[in-house]
């Protein structure tokens, strides 16, 4: 099974569906330990991503991922915008000129994305952020040999839930210190939906 332009596009559409549907849930979490805009930011940004990728025909996965990255960077704003934007930009570089991507290349692209976000945000795992979902997912992919959609989604979900008991040391939630415990990190949750969307798309193949 390979990841093609068709899957990439479906992935983006599916992410958008989740962001629209869970906008309020994400915002509520960000109200609890942030400034209450994460759901708004993600819903606004991915709506624009869908608009953008629906306008064009893409030949390569790299191209569609690059348009997604640029739209995320310019439309999401906040902390999540440059971080997710960096992730998609790194994937677009890893998938450059490719029309179909195999498991290994796909895994490498996601690891590039993770490393890009780590550098950009000067953060590491355990700080109650996006990274706490991306790293377990990348490790899971690196251990496997082919796409296992359900296990992928489970990994992301489990990772997201683990952020609940973490104390934030990066991002706005860090101001809440110990009080940030007891709430799932909003960025971790939006990352979960990104991987859930991926699993749903891979499932259909």
């Amino acid at each position: 099974m390979h990841f093609t332009v068709k899957q990439a596009k479906e992935w983006l559409l599916q992410i958008n569906d989740h962001m629209q549907e869970h906008k309020q849930e994400l915002t509520r979490l960000d109200q609890a330990i942030g400034d209450g805009d994460h759901g708004i930011n993600m819903a606004r940004g991915f709506k624009e991503v869908v608009k953008k990728v629906n306008e064009k025909e893409y030949k390569t996965v790299g191209d569609i991922m690059q348009d997604a990255a640029m739209t995320i960077i310019s439309k999401v704003g906040g902390a999540a915008g440059p971080l997710y934007g960096t992730a998609f930009l790194r994937m677009s570089l890893a998938f450059k000129d490719k029309v179909s991507i195999d498991y290994k290349t796909f895994t490498r692209g996601l690891d590039d994305a993770l490393q890009g976000m780590k550098q950009r945000g000067k953060a590491t795992t355990g700080e109650k952020t996006i990274l706490d979902v991306w790293e377990p997912v990348v490790l899971f992919l690196e251990e496997g040999e082919s796409f296992q959609p359900q296990a992928l989604a489970d990994t992301a979900k489990h990772a997201m839930e683990k952020t609940k008991n973490m104390i934030a040391t990066k991002g706005r939630a860090a101001y809440f210190k110990e009080k940030s415990k007891g709430h799932i990190d909003p960025g971790a949750m939006s990352s979960y939906y990104i991987f859930l969307a991926m699993a749903e798309v891979l499932e259909e193949v």
Binding site: G81, G121, G171, K177
Partner: protein
Amino acid sequence: MKKIINDPEQVAQEMITGMLLAAPNKLKQLKDTTVIMRKDAPIKRKVGIVSGGGSGHEPAHAGYIGSGMLDAAVIGEVFTSPSVDQVYEAIKAVDSGEGVFLVIKNYTGDVLNFEMAAELATAEGIQVEQIIVNDDVAVEDSSFTTGRRGIAGTIFIHKIVGAKANLGGSLEEIKRVAEKAVANVRSMGMAITPCSIPAAGEASFTLSEQEMEIGIGIHGEPGIERKPLATAKEIATELTQKILADINLQKNDEVAVLINGLGSTPDMELYILNKEVQQILKEKEIHVYQTFVGEYMTALEMGGCSFTLLKLDDELKSLLDHPSEAPHFIVK
């Protein structure tokens, strides 16, 4: 949540339109962006000064555009950093060849977006320098956090770097005075009533009728402590003490004082607070060079205030006194 708006998703855009219509001779919008800038920018032989951040803090930052302060303000959605490309466009638009200086409040979103934009601009051959403002003493600067937040002290930084740029200062000279000013500015805030982001539709936090929160951030981020609402004198004492504990102020040192309203606190209350603050400083024989009272950096309709002290030397005094035509910080 009660607001006088049209569409909660369009507030930032509509505000920008309203701002431009209010000052068509002084401001212009950079096409297809949320950047507002001086109509006459870029200014020849002057370093361009760019600030910005999420909206909802008005008059910050567009109210500080004008000769002697900012050349451009990049405006984000409510409480959301503007994106990289907006900042990048602003940098390009105000550069006259002398380079561009960025004033960034210390929030992950702002820092990431402004820094990425600076990288892009540098790659295009534009010289870019920056300062990260982190004046809020409510959050200790430990490894535990991402560092202190930037709040109302940012206005003094705008003034200092804007003056230095107006006087022909180079990027390096501006960076030096900016670092000096940031090293000497401290703030702290408190709230009695919350604010709500239009698109969220509900208050960001709640406080009971008898409660206040000390050390709150300008996006409703938590502070140090929730406790029973105290008197103006007690509040002034607590905020001033926290600030003084963090900055080395001796007898006869000179400061500028900013008593900032967060949104719905009447000027009357800010002046009562000012009375208390001046009394405290007088007792400590700290000389107040200049006082500013009003709304400078708000948090939508939050009720509450912040205090800022800027320790001055002769250079900072002369930069503070330099003329400014920015409508919300006019100096003759």
